[in-house]
Symmetry: C2
Subunit: 453 residues, 2 copies
């Protein structure tokens, strides 16, 4: 294949004969020549193409507006202009596809709201091009992180007939006609089926066979909440490890975050510069601090003490036994610790049945990793591996032993201490890009009333 | 973290002090000692643990049946037994979780049908452990293949309000109550929504911005067909490249298959040996031949000639203009070419609207890669980038310009030649593992009447 703009910009030496295809970002004309900035999406930057006015093909130049697709043959030479090492002196210029004056991305300074209405074109902008290159690199880095550590990727099912936590509104999946008086057993799966909210329970089954596994797939919530942090469809990473306790679980979670910030500095440097300039001025500094500062840990009980003593007026009062709210989490990470902090040993009553009960009788081996600017990014726990404890917790939660009999089998046959966590991929992306609305880190976001494209 | 069995088996030298955790596969007792084979899922093999009858912990041994989880401390020493380099002379043995006589995986020789009913336990067997380790390695190899070639991973939406090809039965996604007389606009997304059958159209939008992209996600078909090749939920890989024609598309597809077979030999050697011995005796040889033989190509028209002249009685008659059936595809790959073959330039009338029309007026720039034993594994095409041709094709297919106006924008603004393909992940897995039923390469398969676990 021909070299990308990214390859050409990284050239070691000039080259008499190169061909590049891409989209024109800007055009400037002088008497002697025209300058086209051509990008192909391979990297943040475009390459400058100089079209001499004496070339036969220069007659085409006047048709070429922002957004047009061109193919250029010419010579790669050192650029006299500042800020760019190389440019192309064109010999041949072909127009692949024009873009006329109705092209919506000609002018700069569109609002995110407008750009969401043209989700098929917005990845052509600097902002969304950056965000989606970062999304791709983070995705690969996550696979690499787990593969290097001996984890197996398991594709847990998207369609499920059970509900992981008994919590969260679920989407129903059906082939029945809406409004028809059909029986559930006439449906495709012979019973009601839903979109998964978590692959954890199935992940546990595979960890109890293959040792260390992770999932990385779409999950769904049918919550009718229109906030900047919620989408109906989002991607989640869920590692699960056999022979693992809460301590090792927290260490892996902290290292996971750290690794991804490193990738941002090492593999997304141009994007990070741009995002810091135009989206969040504090971004680079915040990521650097998070990377440099050792992770700190607080028990839930300590965290509640700190919040109570803070003298801060919170919207939700702080009381041992209540869930921490985003305002509490952000105070702990941003003001108290001034960096990432892991909270562990939460009250048993506010956590799901599968978390391992601590000896104190009132807490479970749960943990959340909190980040400045974001709040909770990871939630996890050691799982209850003791059959009697698990059964008691299920009874308390009113869950049916029958429905979970396969899950109980994991404790019946060769039960082992195991632990895992879930990381919201979009929340991670918001943290590393500084983008504040979840709709702007998802290629085509699904939210109440919106399933466009 | 402590070393896995896979690490211990690959040790360079003995070690006075190692700890290993895992599940007991077999136990043999002699007067002087007991032998436990312990596996932790990290690799195909287990490690032999020798428990001397004089050790205090040897009193535990009689409780330890197949499936029990143990933790062993001891010395890693060269094994006198054949077929294994290392074994562990135990000093300490702890039982983490027992497995009693009701453990279903004690005896060997269960049928796949029975093992599907215990999908939460079957990854503990040699067969399914192998299949799911292969699945994980193939998944990572696919990400690596595209990342090394400058592709960006795009997470196209799972929930969609449109249907990629107007073809295929779709699952509906809803929050309305079944049977209630609700209007579509009362549903979560304000209109009917479905599970995606392909991310191609959205992938094209991103290729026309970022150059080279791929998707790798779940796709869905609500077809009520109970065959060994169909599942309601399966994973698909869909690369899409701007500035790319059918020729380059076919080359990438052929290289993609070749790369994954190489991974099978290099990274799944133990699994390949096992699968060849116990699942498909011809597997290793077939993969080797596929790798060694250069990919061949035939136009659809040539393929039809060959089939007609073959003298073979096919169930479906061969006629120019008709789709090739699996029996035809397998004849071409297995008997005529005796290896992988790519068929290109299919009749326009049997292909979707978005494929690029050839100058002959009757074919389109479509291609399928066929493999011995499998038939079609990849289908792709160059896409129609010319607005007038695309509009004419849409009219012929009865599609609404309005609904596809965003897709038409890709041709309105800077249109470029582009191409892509789709590869069924499970079909690939069936090819590289020799496993004949799609239900046996999916962690928890979804088929008509089945959404268990």
């Amino acid at each position: 294949m021909r070299p990308s703009v990214s390859h050409l910009l990284a050239s070691e030496s000039p080259s008499p004969n190169v061909t590049v295809s891409g989209w024109v970002r800007t055009r400037r004309d002088s008497k002697a020549c025209s300058f086209l900035e051509v990008g192909d999406g391979s990297c943040f930057r475009g390459i400058q193409v100089v079209v001499d006015a004496n070339l036969p093909c220069s007659s085409l130049v006047q048709q070429i507006l922002t957004g047009a697709a061109v193919e250029v043959e010419g010579e790669l030479v050192a650029s006299p202009a500042s800020g760019q090492k190389w440019e192309i002196q064109a010999r041949e210029l072909r127009v692949l596809g024009l873009a006329d004056g109705t092209y919506p991305l000609q002018k700069k300074g569109h609002t995110p709201e407008f750009l969401r209405t043209i989700g098929h074109l917005r990845p052509r902008t600097n902002l969304y091009g950056s965000v989606f290159r970062v999304r791709s690199r983070m995705s690969f880095a996550i696979h690499r992180f787990f593969n290097e550590r001996g984890f197996f990727h398991v594709h847990t099912p998207i369609i499920t007939a059970s509900d992981c936590e008994g919590a969260g509104e679920m989407f129903r999946v059906t082939t029945l006609k809406q409004g028809a008086q059909s029986k559930p057993e006439e449906d495709f799966f012979g019973k009601p089926a839903y979109l998964t909210v978590s692959g954890q329970l199935q992940g546990e089954a595979f960890a109890c066979a293959m040792g260390k596994i992770y999932t990385f797939g779409p999950t769904f919530r049918a919550e009718n909440s229109n906030t900047t942090r919620h989408a109906a469809e989002f991607w989640m990473i869920e590692p699960e490890m056999a022979f693992c306790d809460l301590e090792a679980d927290m260490s892996l979670a902290e290292e996971n975050i750290r690794d991804l910030i490193r990738v941002m500095f090492e593999e997304c440097a141009d994007e990070l510069d741009f995002l810091t300039k135009f989206v969040d001025k504090a971004l680079t500094q915040r990521l650097r601090q998070t990377l440099d500062k050792p992770s700190e840990r607080l028990s839930y009980t300590e965290a509640v003490e700190i919040l109570k003593k803070s003298g801060r007026k919170f919207e939700y009062p702080v009381e041992w036994g209540e869930a921490l709210q985003t305002e509490h989490e952000r105070f702990l990470a941003e003001e108290h610790i001034k960096g990432p902090v892991t909270i562990f040993d939460y009250p048993r009553a506010i956590k799901p049945f599968y978390m391992r009960q601590n000896d104190d009788g009132r807490t479970v081996a749960a943990m959340d990793v909190l980040l400045p600017g974001i709040g909770e990014i990871i939630g996890g726990s050691q799982r209850e591996e003791r059959m009697d404890h698990l059964l008691a917790a299920m009874r308390l939660s009113g869950l049916s032993e029958d429905e979970y009999s396969w899950y109980l089998d994991l404790r019946r046959f060769g039960s082992v201490p195991h632990a895992g966590y879930g990381m919201g991929f979009e929340r991670l992306l918001m943290f590393v890009t500084g983008v504040h609305n979840i709709r702007d880190v998802i290629p085509f976001a699904r939210t109440p009333g919106h399933a466009d494209f």
